[in-house]
């Protein structure tokens, strides 16, 4: 049972590492204009991972529930991170993206025009940041120090930091969205509506349409009554380079204009990569810089004092760094060095068992012969 559990935990660790790579590559692919074929593979991979982690969360929740420790799992064993980094992503990010692919973008986002396209893009964008919480899942499984206490404290502080960053970004994005704070999306929306008006006003004037399309790079395709009036790319290029989320359209009567959303997506991917980098660096910094500091200034002195109190032959003093000598731990270490150890030394003089390298367990074989 334990072996199966360990194997499953290892699978989860591998999956977390892979999903972090996938998250990074998915944004890099948008930023670097990788072909839709590659991005489609990454999109489906992300969807598969979201299903996997949703199942993982539900399984853990179920096991916790039948063991009557749902609260412990959810609040103290990072169940809430498991939740935020799984189900919402499936429902708000990869799920809608895959649905859009299967259904065709026009049917999903087209009925409400460009405004809804941008809102969906924004919703997906907000949800994607939850993926970064998975950095914490892998961090929780890395034993960066021998001390359980050090590990718990460092995990706690990194969880707080990363969760605060993620939640702050989420909330601020929502607040800014409701407050109609000018953004790339609102600019884009205003501009595309203007373009739509101009094209509509141009009517059947081909030269005017040519002028507009030559100045507005965001126009991909213009159709009226089912007839294509303008196409910036060949069908091959459109099939090769554009995914469902890469374009949106606006319509006025029989006029339909398709716009290139890739610059908006690239801007978002760039921001995502920046968040990703910040969070990974924050977590790594806690592991590499704070964890040893915590071990050195808190758990190591306690470990030494604990050994000194439990083992009769262990009489090493705690090294007290002058810089931290006023810390409570080192004040206690001072007492241990100056009072406890000398007292222990004096009393062990009359004790026959003061330093024993030999234990009864060492000769079990002799006694059992």
């Amino acid at each position: 049972m334990n072996r199966t559990r360990a194997a499953l935990e290892n699978v989860v660790i591998i999956a977390i590492v892979l999903v972090l790579v996938q998250t990074f590559l998915e944004d890099l692919a948008v930023l670097a204009n990788w072909t839709w074929d590659v991005r489609r593979v990454l999109m489906f991979t992300g969807f598969a991972f979201d299903i996997f982690f949703s199942i993982e969360f539900l399984s853990r929740l179920y096991v916790a529930f039948i063991n009557r420790r749902t609260g412990v799992y959810f609040w103290y064993e990072r169940g809430w991170i498991d939740l935020l980094a799984s189900v919402p992503l499936l429902l708000l990010s990869s799920g809608p993206a895959v649905m859009a692919y299967w259904s065709g973008s026009a049917t999903v986002v087209g009925f409400a025009g460009i405004l809804n396209v941008l809102k969906v893009v924004k919703a997906i964008r907000i949800a994607r940041i939850l993926r970064l919480l998975r950095v914490l899942k892998i961090f929780a499984r890395i034993r960066n120090t021998d001390s359980v206490m050090a590990q718990r404290h460092v995990a706690k502080i990194s969880t707080i930091s990363v969760a605060v960053v993620v939640v702050a970004v989420l909330l601020l994005t929502v607040v800014f969205g409701f407050a109609n704070v000018p953004s790339l999306e609102t600019d884009y929306q205003t501009r595309t509506l203007e373009i739509l008006d101009r094209i509509e006003a141009a009517g059947s004037d081909a030269s005017e349409l040519e002028t507009i399309t030559s100045f507005e790079d965001s126009i991909v395709l213009v159709q009226r009554g089912g007839t294509t009036l303008f196409s910036r790319y060949t069908n091959e290029v459109l099939a090769h380079s554009f995914g469902p989320a890469d374009y949106g359209f606006g319509e006025r009567g029989t006029l339909r204009v398709f716009f290139d959303l890739r610059p908006v997506n690239q801007e978002q991917s760039s921001t995502n990569l920046m968040y990703f980098g910040v969070i990974v660096l924050v977590v790594v910094a806690y592991m590499v810089l704070y964890s040893p500091h915590f071990a050195l200034t808190v758990s190591d002195p306690i470990h030494i004092m604990s050994r000194g109190m439990n083992e009769k032959g262990y009489n090493l003093e705690v090294k007290v760094p002058p810089l931290y000598k006023t810390d409570e731990v080192y004040k206690l270490s001072g007492l241990y060095n100056e009072v406890y150890l000398p007292l222990k030394d004096r009393t062990s003089g009359s004790d026959d068992t003061d330093v024993l390298d030999l234990k009864l367990d060492d000769i079990k074989d002799i006694l059992n012969e």
Partner: protein, 307 residues
């Protein structure tokens, strides 16, 4: 050898072969096994009193058998070690102190015979454990070199107060000789062996005088300064402020090495073994009768060198 003795020897040999005891000197190993038997008497007594080991024997009889076997085996390991340690001491300084040639070999032989005689007593073996370990691990060498570099309190005490007009190597040899002579308090003819011995292992100054007189008869080639140093290494400095610096230093070295383990793994965040021991000894100097200033200097040396 009787069947019981064979069984006792086999049992003790298995205990001595434990890897945890490998880095220790024979006397340290012996002490560990004695402590082990004492500490685990309740668990060992039923098993060792069973048919498979020593049926019908009381625990005291079993312990006596085991001790006998233990001393026999340890002596086999100790004798060559002791000979090699004594051979390593350069007794040339004895000629200088006596102002006549006694012959280093003669001094070596006399000390060896004297020690082998003394070490038949359990008390002498215990009080020699630390001194022997200090000699085996070369602790004198490293600290004397540092003391000579610093030329501070201990150097002054050795060369000016004790007035040893000897080279560094000769003083080193004299300290080594002092360590060899530390179990002298168990010499026959000084009254009850270990008389006046206190919890700390020190003896009273008056008893030390008796010891000196008795030992002098047996160690005729040794100059009084050396023998006195060996005897006084067992006397508290708080009781006699005129104890030789060599004796004070030897007392510290022997105490340090009683439970000394070479190449001990130091936990992260812990002080080094010598520094820790000396720091504790500084706080307990009155209890053990050490010279606090010597401890201070040795502590600084250990701190500077990461010992």
């Amino acid at each position: 050898m009787s069947g019981e003795q064979e069984k006792a020897s086999a049992f003790v040999s298995r205990l001595l072969a434990n890897p945890a005891l490998a880095p220790l000197t024979p006397l340290q190993r012996e002490e560990q096994i004695i402590q082990f038997l004492h500490a685990n008497a309740a668990q060992l007594a039923p098993t060792l009193g069973s048919q498979a080991f020593f049926p019908g024997k009381s625990w005291n009889q079993i312990v006596a058998l085991l001790y006998h076997a233990l001393i026999g085996i340890v002596d086999q390991q100790l004798r060559p070690d002791l000979k090699s340690v004594i051979t390593g001491v350069q007794f040339g300084f004895v000629n200088f102190l006596r102002q006549q040639s006694a012959g280093s070999e003669k001094v070596r032989l006399q000390i060896e015979q004297f020690l082998l005689g003394l070490l038949s007593q359990m008390g002498a073996r215990r009080s020699f454990t630390g001194a022997f370990a200090a000699l085996r691990y070369g602790i004198v060498d490293k600290y004397i070199n540092a003391i000579w570099t610093r030329k501070s309190y201990t150097h002054f005490e050795l060369t000016k107060v004790q007035r040893l007009k000897l080279s560094k190597d000769d003083i080193k040899a004299m300290i080594e000789a002092t360590l060899l002579l530390m179990p002298v308090v168990h010499v026959a003819g000084a009254g009850t062996n270990g008389q006046g011995e206190q919890v700390t292992g020190t003896v009273q100054a008056q008893f030390a005088d008796k010891v000196f007189q008795a030992a002098k008869k047996q160690l005729i080639v040794l100059p009084d300064q050396v023998l006195k140093s060996g005897v006084n290494a067992n006397v508290s400095y708080l009781e006699n402020r005129f104890i030789e610096a060599t004796a004070r230093l030897s007392a510290v070295f022997a105490a340090r090495c009683r439970n000394y383990q070479p190449n001990v793994r130091v936990d992260r965040g812990a002080d080094s073994p010598d520094k820790s021991w000396l720091s504790i000894a500084r706080r307990n100097y009155k209890f053990y009768g050490f010279d606090i200033k010597i401890l201070d200097e040795l502590y600084s040396i250990a701190a500077e060198n990461g010992w």
